[in-house]
């Protein structure tokens, strides 16, 4: 029996302030196999993004265990988590999160800055990633000079430049019109089918969710399917 790429066991996430305790996730169990393309759907506030952030090691669960490729990562150090994010995971955010002071090429190079990769090799990899998303002609532009769809393609190039095994996309088409959204989806599908990248995507859009292999539904912090 193969080890799942991502495994969540009885994961709970509680946000506590002085007065309020908010349960964002409760008793979530989930296995995602290598090469799967999974979408996570549910109403606003149901815990979809929280789940994605936990999978992406951007946040820690209050309870439960998260394993990547069979290894538990819940208690890993900051340095170890940073290394895992750098080597294994790529992120695509709804609001792109490109650094406005850097050119498209410099933005795409960011994940490689935290690896022992020489400048020439970084540049070459970033150029290849931009070519992969069809933005070679814009590599010396700044994010503010690009349309929303182009910015999201830059964000995808940045996410894949380090060839991660897992790509996490948080409503990647949420800020785009339907045509641009379809373009982005076809890039993601392409990555999944051709490069066997494991993809987990949070979306509100059933039309985009239908293009994934499996849909996980969330409600009130729990899985409902």
């Amino acid at each position: 029996m193969s080890v799942p790429m991502i495994r969540l066991e009885n994961v709970e996430k509680v946000y506590r302030t002085d007065r309020i305790e908010t349960v964002a996730l409760s008793g979530v169990n989930l296995d995602i196999e290598e090469g799967e393309f999974v979408s996570i759907m549910g109403p606003s506030g149901c815990g979809k993004s929280t789940l994605l952030h936990l999978i992406g090691l951007l946040d820690a669960p209050s309870k439960g265990t998260i394993s990547l490729n069979g290894a538990a990562v819940t208690d890993a150090s900051d340095k170890a988590l940073a290394h895992l994010r750098n080597q294994q995971i790529g992120f695509v955010f709804q609001s792109f999160h490109l650094i406005p002071d850097l050119s498209v090429l410099d933005n795409v190079e960011i994940p490689l800055l935290y690896r022992k990769v020489g400048a020439a090799e970084r540049r070459k990899a970033a150029e290849a990633a931009l070519e992969r998303v069809g933005l070679s002609a814009r590599m010396h532009h700044f994010p503010s000079q690009l349309s929303g769809g182009q910015q999201q393609r830059v964000a995808i190039a940045r996410a894949i430049v380090g060839r991660p095994r897992v790509l996490l996309a948080d409503e990647p088409t949420g800020n785009l019109d339907s045509q641009m959204g379809d373009d982005i989806m076809s890039i993601l599908q392409d990555l999944n089918t051709k490069e066997k990248t494991t993809l987990v995507m949070v979306t509100h859009d059933p039309r985009q969710a239908e293009k994934t292999v499996r849909t996980i539904r969330m409600f009130d912090g729990r899985r409902v399917n």
């Binding site: 951007l58 940073a82 999160h97 490109l98 935290y114």
Partner: protein, 411 residues
């Protein structure tokens, strides 16, 4: 990585112009004051001509006479050196010179004020004066109390204008001297060598000075080798025990040391401290650090207030593999860069201020200059300032949780 940080730092400086201006103004002004202070101290203590042999010269700036219930501190007397400190082992040459005293002369109806220093002949052998005209007076001049004088350029100009000076007579302190040499002006702060008129010590109006243990003279000892300083100090100390003290005193303290050390001993007024120079340097550096703290706190506040603006970037970098340490280094590096830019501006401004000071008569004979040593101090101040003002904000920014940083992003 550093290239990337540098590129980003410069872009951020260019993009946030008001922030950059406020930061650079604060940093630049602070560093300007510190650089000017360093230039002043360099001007006073660095081994410039005629004090070119400072590395193997020891001096005694002041002595302390102690009784059971009182003490007297100040320059030693001629008698202390002449009667007790001649022929110290390891000393190639010793000179005794008076502290410069202001004397007034009237020359062709004009009132001329000058600093008169009375010296022996070895004074000009230990100090490396570059004679513009003539030569120093010699041992015979001193032994025979000849009324001869070496004057500096400014005094020469005051007395003689463009006419020849050598062989001419000048009046100082009610005495007439024949000019035998002209030397460059020595800045007023260089207490060992400055003076307008130098004359043989034996031309003093009375011989009272010869036996005094305390009062008005500086001793300079040129060592055969700079490694002999400790042994000379020990012998000096041993000889002090043989000094016949004035009646009311029972102990004498004095230590031959570098000019800076001697000045430091006088400043901290501790005649038994081992390394007064180190203590004075620590005091100077503490003052410099305290002076940096207020603008540093200001910059810390500015930096922290930028956190929200840059939280998206922090979140992205964390998401793509930056550890807290990576971010700490990045933000610290950025702060050091802006501080170094401030330091460069401060050095340029300091150059201009020093040029104005040199041209003004505010400090007599000043010739301040930005040499490599001061530039190095300027950069050290800039780096220190960058680290002091950068560590806390960098630490705070680097400790932001990735998810919180992304959530706080402006985009």
């Amino acid at each position: 990585m550093l290239k990337n940080y540098l590129k980003l730092s410069l872009k951020i400086l260019g993009r946030r112009k008001f922030f950059t201006f406020v930061s650079l103004f604060g940093i630049g002004f602070t560093l300007l004051v510190l650089t000017l202070s360093a230039a002043m101290l360099d001007h006073i203590f660095a081994p410039y001509a005629p004090e070119t042999r400072a590395d193997r010269t020891l001096t005694v700036f002041s002595v302390r006479l102690q009784s059971a219930d009182s003490w007297s501190t100040g320059p030693a007397g001629y008698g202390l050196y002449d009667r007790y400190m001649r022929d110290l082992p390891g000393v190639e040459r010793m000179t005794i010179s008076s502290m410069p005293a202001t004397v007034v002369s009237y020359w062709k109806g004009a009132r001329i004020e000058a600093l008169l220093r009375r010296t022996d002949a070895d004074y000009f052998r230990i100090l490396d004066f570059n004679f513009l005209e003539g030569a120093p007076y010699g041992q015979a001049d001193v032994d025979e109390s000849r009324f001869v004088a070496v004057i500096n350029e400014t005094t020469r100009r005051k007395y003689f204008g463009a006419s020849p000076a050598l062989g001419q007579m000048i009046e100082a302190d009610g005495q007439s001297f024949k000019v035998v040499g002209v030397v460059p002006d020595v800045p007023i702060f260089r207490l060992l060598s400055m003076g307008d008129i130098y004359v043989p010590v034996t031309t003093a109006k009375s011989d009272d000075y010869k036996n005094k243990i305390r009062g008005g003279f500086i001793g300079l000892f040129l060592l055969k080798d700079k490694g002999l300083a400790d042994s000379v100090r020990q012998e000096f100390k041993a000889r002090l025990t043989k000094v016949e003290l004035p009646q009311q005193f029972n102990k004498i303290y004095a230590v031959p040391e570098s000019f800076f050390g001697s000045f430091a001993r006088m400043f901290i007024n501790d005649f038994e401290a081992d390394e007064p120079g180190d203590r004075l340097m620590a005091i100077f550096l503490t003052i410099a650090a305290l002076f940096m703290i207020l603008p540093a706190v200001n910059l810390v506040n500015l930096n922290v207030s930028r956190a929200l603006e840059r939280s998206s970037e922090i979140g992205v970098r964390r998401a793509f593999g930056a550890s807290a340490r990576d971010l700490l280094l990045q933000f610290l590096f950025e702060n050091v860069i802006i501080s170094v830019v401030g330091g460069i501006l401060a050095l340029m401004a300091a150059g201009a201020v020093l040029a104005v000071l040199n041209r003004s008569d505010l400090i007599p004979y000043a010739h301040f200059a930005l040499n490599l040593r001061i530039v190095a101090w300027g950069f050290l101040f800039a780096l220190t300032f960058g680290v002091i003002s950068g560590v806390w904000p960098a630490w705070r920014l680097s400790r932001l949780k990735p998810i919180n940083a992304l959530a706080g992003g402006s985009r």
